[in-house]
Amino acid sequence: MEVGREMFIIEHLPALVIAIPLLAAFIAPLLKRFGKHAVSVWSILNLSIVECLVIVLGYRVIKDGIQSYAIGASIPSLLSPNGLPVRIILEVDAISSFMGLTSISIILLACIYSACFMKKYKSVERYYSLLLLMAAGIMGMAFTGDMFNMFVFLEVLSISSAGLIAFYAYKGEAIEAAFKYLVISSISALMVLFAIALLYGQYGLLNIAALGAAFRFTILDKIALALLVSAFVMKCGAVPLHMWVADAYGEAPAPISASLVVASQISLYALFRICFTLFGLLPAIQIIAWFIILFGLASMFVGVTMAMPQKDIKRLMAYHAISQTGYMLLGVGVGLAVINDINALNAFGIAAMEGGIFHIINHAMYKGLLFLVAGAIIYRTGTKNLNEMGGLGNRMPITAVLFLIGMLSITGLPPFNGFASKLIIYESVFLFNPILSVVAMIVSILTLASFVKVFYSAFTGQEQSKYKDVKEIPAIMLVPLLILAFLIILFGLFPGIILKLLVKPAVQALLDRAGYIGVVV
């Protein structure tokens, strides 16, 4: 009986990691009658289960290869009964499980942090419900093998994120930020839908793998590619389509800002999936690769230079999130640029992609940590304005040390994890084009300068008399921060192992277009 249940769970793993947070989101509001804690415990419990399932799924992907699942089929592994994939198919390879693991880990830690951070607010059940929906949207986008399904989950993610950004509804700025995010998301989703319609009209297919095999590279395909790239570039917050990021990240509750980082990264994943798996054989894909590189370059530089003059700690960090997205775009963009040149791909293209993908998980951790530290400061002082802070290091020493770890990591200083991924990017991108690498290094120096300002303004300097009663944050809020700091140090000390276990399989999966298509077609 036990073995049967275990087999059932393993067989339905790809569907369960989406279904559990989705169903839990609808149950969460009903639990309010048992108290606020019941809702937070319910959310943490469900996200922990999803985290475990994603780890098992990732293990199975590494051990047995791509995991696929036909939704609604009597035999879920039977994908194309008549030679055509007629059902919605979930397809989980190493890159999608990498993204799923990264995302769910950050959302789980944000949820634990929220248990204390959000307890003073009414309607927390709505908060947790939306957070669980957000998790379902991210998981769906990571694991789906179907274009229309990706659009649906993109919408689920966007609507839940907009609701969470507007959580502080009593503040006009939060409503404005949510409105901007909603407009941007609607337009992106509309463009994605239009691109899907163009593809469906030509091929009568929605499955990514089947579409990848059927492409004839018509002008309509190129228009669809342009629409998809533009939409996902805007959703991942790359310059010049980044304007919504500072507002959304800045006005959302701190744990939601940390979760929005992984929400943006899942759009980055969708962009990579489209470029490599769907349009990987398009002769003009190098044009898109150069666009991605230029978006990356602009994001790095504009992001960091816009961060430097910010006075609002969360807006400053939001601009840094844009800047760090630039590194990922640069690394993977270089890999895409040389995808048809096997010598260049082996010489530095794969390494550049590894740097970019490694930076995704590193960024999720240190930016997650930094946003949660910003939340801790706001929780205790009630202000986001750096001009009003000072000397908090005496009152909040653990938070100060945790901020320092996040700061050293984002600036790419050894021996933290940010250094390892940036080193790979610098070195490999240098072989592609030295100027790009030099810009990336300058951006790191400016990042350090910017965070030195934050550290000085918040934790050192003259102590403010109004903060003399400020204490360290509660233990429950410290736990996620300590876990993230531990992971940052761990990933920094063992970069080779992380690269071998998580990053290399993810990059190989992204490059193995035939393998992904072959599972379905």
């Binding site: 409105f179 590619l225 342009a226 304007m243 003009a284 050894p414 000390l493 080779g496 192992i497």
Partner: protein, 115 residues
């Protein structure tokens, strides 16, 4: 190769070796520092914060005052870049449409040339 080693294209990175080197540098630095004079007087200008030869101000130096020289030098850049950050959602949509058109045009023109 140790467990902590990361092989890169042109070499390797080992955080444990780096930390060992870092600790050695710290020890040497502390030793050199210990050779310095110790007969300074507390509470005098000898222990005051160095403020470019001026008396440090009593009021708080806020984050807005930091890197003012950098922002002054980059004034033209910031004037230009801030012009794009209007905060208006209409502009965001306008930028998006421009980017879509540029990518479509590049793909179609570039695609013809590529083929």
């Amino acid at each position: 190769m140790m467990m902590t080693t990361l092989s890169t294209i042109r070499g390797f990175w080992d955080p444990v070796l780096w930390m060992a080197a870092f600790i050695i540098v710290i020890v040497i630095t502390c030793y050199i520092r210990s050779l310095g004079k110790e007969e300074y007087k507390r509470g005098t200008e000898q222990t005051m914060v160095f403020f470019s030869g001026n008396i440090p101000p009593k009021e708080l130096i806020s984050s807005s005052n930091i890197y003012w020289g950098f922002f002054k030098a980059m004034e033209k850049y910031y004037t230009c870049i801030r012009r794009f950050h209007t905060g208006m959602v209409n502009d965001y949509v306008y930028y998006f449409i421009v980017i879509v058109i540029v990518i479509i045009a590049s793909l179609i023109i570039g695609g013809v040339l590529w083929m």
